[in-house]
Symmetry: C3
Subunit: 169 residues, 3 copies
């Protein structure tokens, strides 16, 4: 019904996470949630607990701010997995000084061979004015490239607008 | 033809206002225009007069920088109404120190029970890089949530790209 | 198959250039590439050479950071042309202190009467938070207006999301 891999793209507060959760919640049995967020400050802590409060007891949460490919591999096949979200993971990888391109490629390899329902959430961040600072421009480039790679593997890609999915693929 | 509530979303200069006006201009008789813009400075004054010059004499303009729900209720049912735009209203509500969530919910209630052709214009602002300052992030969150609530009530939602409407719902 | 004029809009790193090149690469024979980028610094130089490395020997490159209308006219009819991209040209025109509106209108006139396959790439930049500085806001306005004018002439308009085209028109 949803294909193997669904990629949910959209802006801030566009309803990406809710929509992604609803796709998997239709499947009976346990569900895995891989969170890439790190609670650096109160604002982030609040956003995380807000998301967590919405998910019912069927969800098992794994935190993978950096080792996302490993966390996905550890999930094993067959069990539905939600990754939320790629752009936060990318932020963590950049801040940690890792090799972003190598890590992105490795992640996409694991995603491409994952068997079982997988939903990946990511932000589209390239539709505003070119940012002043170089780091933000690099982030935009990395995010755009990663989104393209994941979209290419995906069976279904949706672009969220005001909580509603537009079909891209 | 257009359903009761049409929600027109898009970026800056994407042709939202023009498209919204054209939807209602097809209906004969008087039309109500609820403007949320406030002319703080010359730049804003120019934008407002540019918009106003385009509308013909059938349009009656009401200004509602803050009391948008009240202005819509006062319009009465049956007569076509255009609200332009939600994001400027939200800016005004935040700057005035009002309770944004309560005011947003109250507005959506009035919108949901309004009878008669209603077109609401709003900006999508969440598709760029995460803003540096907290107020801008909060604004993005509020705008995204409000857009989702209005989109849920709407019979038709369009996303404007370069002056052209893409159907979301 | 693609109509006379295809307009490819999207965010940063959304796969616009690659998609635009692929449309024209299907046509046999020589192809013209009009580049509007100027190599001011190393970052830009790298982006330009990255793009250039992707195009095969059938492409002849013309640089037109400012005289875009003239460069397109000089191409003559019949031969496929790719313009990449409008928003960089607009940046150059603004920085050079030219009359942006007059230059935009003149460009659109030349585009509208061009005979032969033409693909134009442009950035959508209006979907983030309102920028702090006035120049960026003016750029957003000019870009939005120019995109609308070109989209109106176009036979086909696509909005790129993560490397995939969504049909707008």
């Amino acid at each position: 019904m949803t294909g193997n891999l669904t990629f949910v793209l959209g802006g801030a507060r566009s309803g990406k996470s809710r929509y992604a959760e609803e796709i998997l919640a239709r499947i009976p049995g346990p569900l895995s949630y891989i969170a890439t967020a790190q609670a650096f400050d109160d604002e982030m802590r609040e956003r995380i607990s807000h998301h967590r409060a919405r998910r019912d007891s069927r969800w098992q949460t794994f935190e993978a701010p950096l080792d996302l490919a490993e966390a996905l591999e550890a999930c094993g096949s067959g069990q539905p997995v939600l990754i939320d979200c790629l752009t936060l993971w990318l932020t963590n990888v950049m801040l940690a000084g890792c090799d972003v391109e190598a890590d992105s490629e490795r992640l996409v390899e694991v995603v491409a061979r994952f068997r079982g329902p997988l939903v990946i959430v990511s932000n589209e961040v390239g539709l505003g004015i070119v940012p002043d600072n170089r780091l933000a421009r690099e982030f935009r480039d990395h995010a755009g490239r990663l989104n393209q790679m994941v979209a290419q593997c995906a069976d279904r890609v949706v672009f969220m607008v005001a909580g509603l999915p537009m079909t891209v693929k």
